[in-house]
């Protein structure tokens, strides 16, 4: 141990021994913080203490010195536990760096391109509850005016869920077509998922394919949160429901598909259950609350609506989202 530290300790202790003021203790405690930072073990503190007392008051009975020796011995295991803390903090920091790097790789690996189509305004926001996102959005589009979107949610969160996302992306890529029908898309991905992951993991997915020329949305769902249709003309919300098992349950699963024609100002709101199953202190946030939020901003661009809904739900939940949050809006313009 550095001589300087021993001297400082002795001086601080000496001041305390003279008057025992709160000021002395405050100085002492600030010093103890510095000792921890410099990795001075508790047994070393006791030893320093003993030496300082010896130098300040040499003539104490032997039992005092023996008693300090015993304390030093008692503190050795405490000192080891503290060193372990240092190494745990270091490990945790390394792991954090690795997780950040992994999240970056994941993002690049699974990135998707927002379709740019005449007459279609798209808004999108996907915010993970933890480091890794267990929700996934993938767009496919082409020159003929098709814009397909897969909105998927792996049951489970964090890293294990995030790993499954690649199946959706590469499955969609293997179809290599923007106008594939939702029931076919869901069947293909279902078979990949069924083959690739074990029985404890499931994925829910909504697939919507928008034909911009006909302003027609065809959609299907694999056990996913229903989408919402907002009709500007009627100022009304309805659910877009389609029957279908979760992906990965059965290779033979069959998926329904339905069609709806959009008019100017209509919105199709696709999402994961992280949007609808938010909670505040009084319980679940009602679906109607979300309708109200959307209605309030219906005339704005799709991205502004999406951002507004997120901001308001975040506020209601004190920024404590329990699940990944993903919201996509197709607005016919």
């Amino acid at each position: 141990m550095v001589q300087e530290i021993e001297n400082q300790y002795k001086e601080i202790l000496n001041e305390y021994m003279k008057k025992q003021t709160e000021q002395n203790l405050y100085v002492g405690q600030n010093f103890s913080r510095q000792l921890i930072l410099e990795n001075i073990a508790p047994e070393e503190v006791i030893s320093m203490h003993k030496v300082a007392i010896q130098e300040l008051y040499g003539e104490l009975p032997d039992i005092v010195w023996h008693s300090f020796d015993f304390l030093i011995e008692m503190m050795i295991n405490y000192g080891l536990a503290l060193q372990e803390r240092q190494s745990l903090i270091k490990q945790q920091e390394e792991l954090k760096v690795e997780m950040d790097l992994a999240a970056n790789v994941q993002e690049t690996l699974l990135k998707t391109k927002l379709p740019l189509l005449e007459g279609l305004d798209i808004g999108l926001l996907s915010i993970p509850a933890r480091k890794m996102n267990g929700d996934y959005i993938y767009f496919v589009s082409d020159q003929e005016g098709y814009a397909g979107v897969a909105v998927a949610d792996v049951i489970g969160k964090g890293l294990p869920a995030a790993l499954c996302m690649s199946m959706i992306k590469f499955g969609m890529d293997s179809l290599n077509s923007a106008h594939a029908l939702p029931k076919d898309v869901l069947s293909v991905i279902n078979r990949i998922v069924e083959k690739s992951i074990d029985d404890s993991m499931f994925v829910s997915m909504f697939y919507g394919n928008y034909d911009a020329k006909r302003a027609r949305l065809t959609y299907g769902s694999a056990g996913h949160e229903p989408a919402i249709l907002y009709r500007a003309k009627d100022n009304k919300f309805t659910e877009l429901y389609a029957k279908g098992l979760l992906l990965g349950v059965s290779p033979a699963a069959v998926y329904e598909e339905h069609t709806v024609d959009l008019e100017n100002g209509d919105l199709v709101i696709m999402m994961t259950d992280g949007v609808t199953e938010g909670r505040n202190e009084e319980g679940f946030i009602e679906r109607e609350v979300i309708y109200e939020l959307i209605e309030h901003k219906k005339t704005e661009p799709a991205q502004a609506i999406v951002q507004y809904v997120y901001d308001e739900l975040e506020r209601m939940q004190n920024a404590q989202f329990q699940d990944d949050f993903t919201l996509v809006i197709y607005k016919k313009v």
Partner: protein
């Protein structure tokens, strides 16, 4: 609730005054040496946070009686900038490894109960309680 007193935090010396106040109340309530030291450390941390991050504020010490239990309540209030990311300041290793001392996780550990309310640009209000057993 009875017995109440407070210290304005403006300079580093006020931290010591707040500690002294807290220690006196804790001793009077019958807390042992170790608990006195812990309560004082918690006050010290909270007062130091005010001094460092809000510039000024107030430490208030209250004696509590509830269901026959006696306790001490520390209130640390300021009109400072507020805490942008509570999750981060409550994280282990975040403050201590940076040398900022026990930090808020430390205060939480030193006391039985810990509540924080903060709002950007408006300030922070922290309440920490320890019960006498």
């Amino acid at each position: 609730m009875n017995g109440e007193s407070s210290v304005e935090i403006l300079t580093e010396w006020d931290i010591v005054a707040a500690r002294q106040l807290g220690r006196n109340v804790a001793k009077e309530l019958g807390f042992g040496t170790v608990d006195q030291a812990r309560i004082t450390t918690a006050i010290s941390e909270l007062a130091r946070n005010i001094y460092l991050y809000a510039g000024k504020g107030r430490i208030e010490i209250q004696q509590l009686t509830q269901n026959g239990l006696k306790g001490i309540l520390i209130i640390a209030a300021d009109n400072g900038p507020g805490i942008p990311d509570i999750r981060q300041v409550m994280e282990d290793g975040f403050t201590t490894s940076g040398g900022l001392g026990a930090g808020l996780p430390g205060v939480k550990r030193l006391m039985d109960d810990f509540k924080i309310e903060t709002s950007i640009g408006e300030g922070t209000d922290i309440r920490a309680t320890k019960w006498l057993r």
